[in-house]
Symmetry: D2
Subunit: 284 residues, 4 copies
């Protein structure tokens, strides 16, 4: 049974849910899940995700989209998009030396928990080739020693040739240039190994150790031009104490990084995330 | 601005959301929150909570309810009810000796976090009178020494005279008879000091200590005829270790009991809970 | 049975535990709990807390302290102190308008969970008088409108007259001057309503809302000259989402503030905290 | 630097810590970590774990053990053992079809987080051979179709030939016979996919779904003759709601199973667990 998802953002006013669900019902869609949120019913912004079975639609996709635009979207000034579960997003993973986040994604990908079309893995290190190729995924080693610009250019070419729409930074330790980020607006997910906004930048575990915090965290966020400042998708923490040195913080934090990144990527792949300003609405 | 909530349970089939939201829109309601759930889009049960501002309805409440029944509810075989935020539920708290859960509810009531109409507190102990009366709430001491049946009869009379619709057992250590429970179906909330179904019955902290669990819990549930077997509304846990004796488990557990019970009561008062079989759907 | 606690900080080297426990055994102490920590067994700093029953000591306290200094402490270059559970620390609570943290402390004090000698409550608002005096605790209203310096002077006088050794800021919204802080080094505990170092300063819930974090926190710390920069004693977090506005963050955060502050105060009262640089070692 | 650990259980009475640490100091050990616990200082049971660097001991191991037995252990009636970090415990993993717990252990083993000597993996399914052999670990497929007794006999032979001391059941779905369990007292660790004692036995996720709990858990415990009744080593939980069907509970629960089992195995390998009756003392 084909599942489709309709994602909507528009100024809030009466009648939106009725109009959207009435339209879907009239065209043979059976709603399986509906979630909505309004920042303020009086003059705020309205967000909605409707999941529905698309097996009995009375129109083909282009006609349905045209009709929705004309009948509903224009009336309410909607920004919207329609996604089908069967159209898995072409995805690339970028990774540096630490393998834990990469492996977590690969393993969940294999058991079917991450419904992506994983096209390639790119790293500035050669180490993960065997591991990645075992999963049948092409591995590209793009060293940065020859120049960061050249490396980024090479990566962009690889991503474009592969038709990639989502880039996952699974502990990729190179800072991406603004022009790179611009090419994938709200389509680059990074895992930062701290509870942002605390300990942005380099060596967050050392920073956490030196500040003496009693919990450490990990944050998955969309990448924007400003380092570690993009919309937060998911965060989690784990308790630590004076007994934990930097190495123990790293070990405990890696567990967090793995699960937090995997959650964020899954939500993106399932079209559960709407971005509003520098924040996310996540319908889970 | 008057807030109303419509709660619906019915067999799932296409068109429910469109019918309900179309009806509300047609009658001047502005939806502020909508949550729905289906156990299975094919032949399952459908649940929905719609919150809307009722300030500009075109019909008075009885006419609106009649219209909804005729136009929507009958067509889909709905069990449904309409609640208004301004109609605070007449509530009684029953409590035995430990005061922590009672105090938590009283504090939150006073600061406006529990939108109930608290009519009385009943206890089989005289101890809490001063504390309760300070809040302007009548306190009734109903001892059980004279016979459990007589006590229950006396409590029932007090509840009826006060027009109570919700009974909160804030660590009330007497088991209620089936005939009592029957009078308040899914309208008695109990806090049990364990992570149910583990450690049902008496002395759960001692049971937990003796089993050597590494987390202890608390469970808020609706009371049914079978002890500690009713639909679970909310649960939470806290980490413990070999260092914690029974007294420490009790101290740590009391924090849980307070917050878990307060959450469950608030959700009930805000009409966020639908019961299905022996389980709850909680729209938070 | 009298409980005593010996707290030690010194350069780490072999033989410390043997020397301390041998001394205690020789003088009739029965160790009930021993915890130690070393930042590095080679040249690091060593911390220890030993709890023991002092009922059968062969020396009176002054003689015991003198002997310990001569026989053990000097040999290892120890900073140390001896505390007796029966000597409850004279404590003051400072509070502004929000009552939740104050009430939590009062209630736990009454049921015996906070072994302090609570001597007075001081507030820049008159509101909590009745509540506090009910517990038999003097309440002093010290307004700041007449000048911050005068107010601080007045508070200092009150604290000194009452012989206070521990000052708890239970949401006291005035910034204390460096000279005030100096009078109570590592003896002022503040609750900050964020997960420090994130959202230091004013309006942390609004800051958290605007950054769009997925967890909010609370931090109990010792007050030092720099605002919100002192050694962290305890932190905790709670999950939030796009559904929570600033008011809901505040409501959820207040639960955290209450429990986090209560834990920190209890640990201080039980002599479980050692400060090292700008960090704490907490033996729980 | 060689790390050694001394684990002690004995009746509590004054002088134990002094005697043990005095002995260690006298023989050139430098204590790096000491943790102790008493069920009751008056007539209870005392537990201690002392970690120390063994590089400068004045006696060889057998002589040291003899001396400790004579000088200290006999005097206090101690059960004790000495372990060296360099002597990694010979370990076997038993697994059925689900691979998640096995993979987690293999990954952590490879990156050095599980200091075991992993000698073999045994499964009643052939599926994991390639995965396991990639890590250089022998894989044995022991089907149970030919008879459970024969299979168990075959497994025992494999374990004995490999000199295994620790058996980890990483979701091994066969019940072990009492005679098998007897061969490895407190040396078989199982992961059960529920928060024990709730939902012991088969299909815990389905049981949890049907009871409508709001948190699901996982429990690592030592295996004893009675199914799912052995001493609990570690537990953890994750929040769920009415939105989660059995498949989602399973997916969420697998994350828990992985981390909870990995923690328990690490603690065992680091000699952090003492068993007392049907409970554990875990020094972490």
């Amino acid at each position: 049974m084909e599942e489709a998802r309709l994602l909507i953002t528009c100024p809030d006013r009466p009648g939106i849910v009725a109009a959207v669900t009435g339209f879907l019902y009239a065209h043979g869609a059976n709603i399986t899940d509906l979630q909505q949120h309004s920042t303020d019913p009086e003059g705020g912004t309205f967000f909605m995700r409707v999941a529905f079975t698309a097996s009995h639609l009375d129109l083909a996709r282009p006609a349905l989209e045209r009709a929705f635009q004309e009948v509903v979207a224009e009336r309410f000034g909607m920004a919207w998009r329609l996604a089908f579960a069967s159209e898995r997003k072409p995805t690339a993973i970028l990774v540096s030396k630490p393998a834990h986040a990469l492996l977590e994604l690969l393993w969940r990908y294999r058991v079917g928990e991450l419904p992506m079309d994983l096209r390639l893995v790119i790293s500035n290190h050669p180490h993960h080739r065997e591991e990645v190729e075992r999963f049948g995924i092409p591995y590209h080693h793009v060293p940065v020693e020859g120049g960061k610009e050249e490396a980024e250019e090479r990566i962009l070419t690889l991503l474009e040739e592969a038709g990639v729409e989502l880039v996952v930074l699974a502990r990729y330790m190179q800072i991406l240039s603004p022009s790179f980020v611009e090419r994938f607006p709200m389509r680059i997910i990074n895992i930062h190994h701290s509870f942002l906004p605390a300990f942005a930048g380099a060596n967050p575990y050392r920073q956490a150790y030196e500040r003496g915090v009693k919990l450490i965290g990990a944050t998955a966020h969309y990448v924007t031009e400003e380092l570690d400042q993009g919309p937060i998708i998911e965060q989690d923490v784990v308790r630590v104490s004076h007994r934990h040195g930097v190495a123990e913080l790293r070990r405990l934090g890696q567990e967090l990084e793995r699960t937090v990144l995997a959650r964020a990527v899954r939500w993106h792949l399932e079209d559960r995330i709407l971005v509003h300003g520098n924040k996310t609405v996540v319908f889970v």
